[in-house]
Subunit: 193 residues, 2 copies
């Protein structure tokens, strides 16, 4: 086993995903995951707090990339364009991980516990994005609303992308942003009245 | 005990909320809730599937009101204004229930399991709103994005309202809608370039 544990971590994730997909999340033990990955159960727990966390590694990777993206977005961008810039910067990573994220979505969708855990991760991500926007100087309430709206746009584009593998996620995100503008136009008109 | 069980249901909810707030959600049994409400534990389970569900009664009431609101919104309103119209129509109900929703929020915030359940309820509500918009003739992808955006605006206004009891929830919702317009303006400009 490699001493840095990095490959062990990856093997554990891959093994968990395969076993969960084949047998159902509830039927698989950490011992089985460890055995399939060729490590001890103790090694499993050195890397992951529990059976659920092994599935959400990508989520924290995405969070790190997105918050870094918000920090790196051109300083003259307004909050929502800066957030969309950050989302765009992660799309190659997201598109490149589809072979993992697709089975992952199936495993999560099949299990209420996992769906709930994922929703919690989404809230944590939304709060992290709001914090990253505040770091750029966006006032707190605006940062919070922007993060919620940005996540709504992103989740919409991602859902369409997973529903139809032939679509381009970059185009879907741009289309969702354009749709958002169209949706809010009647509100702006009502304001002007 | 009243034969229709309506008041028993209300008493069970009130009793659960009081006990959860005093002792913590994990420390309270359904038998204790039933005893405090003056009913049998069997009656508890006739009304609620489990210890968690007793807290989420208001959520399904809100869902019914909101989907009815979407159906009743003036037919000439575009999707997002129709959804905001529906949110506005429920504000008296929401404002009138603050004495219950405030302790409820505290109980939920203190317990990860409850927070996860609430997030699931929010997803169900978002899907119900998308369905109600489709009933109005809004195409499916637009209905879905509108529901996500509307919920983001509403959740933002509600969070501010719970943070500061002196604010008016109607004004907070209008301000959030105006902020949304402002956030999207730079996107529309980028589109036009």
């Amino acid at each position: 086993m490699p001493r840095d544990g990095g490959p062990a971590r990856l093997r554990l994730q891959q093994a968990a995903l395969e076993l969960y997909e084949r047998h159902g999340f509830d039927q698989v033990t950490t011992a089985e995951i460890a055995a399939r990955a060729g490590v001890t159960e103790r090694t499993f727990y050195r890397h992951f707090a529990d059976k659920r966390e092994v599935l959400f590694e990508g989520e924290s990777g995405l969070r790190d990339r997105l918050t870094a993206g918000v920090a790196e977005a051109p300083s003259d961008l307004a909050p929502l364009p800066a957030l969309l810039w950050a989302f765009r910067s992660t799309l190659p990573f997201i598109a490149g991980n589809r072979h993992l994220s697709e089975p992952l979505r199936r495993v999560i969708a099949a299990n209420p516990q996992l769906r709930e855990r994922q929703l919690t991760k989404t809230v944590i991500l939304t709060e992290a994005l709001a914090a990253a926007l505040r770091e750029r100087g966006t006032p707190a309430p605006t940062a919070s609303l922007t993060a919620r709206i940005g996540m709504a746009v992103y989740a919409h584009a991602a859902a369409l992308w997973f529903a139809d593998p032939d679509q381009d996620i970059d185009e879907l995100l741009s289309a969702a942003a354009a749709d958002l503008c169209e949706l809010t136009t009647p509100l702006a008109r009502a304001d002007a009245r």
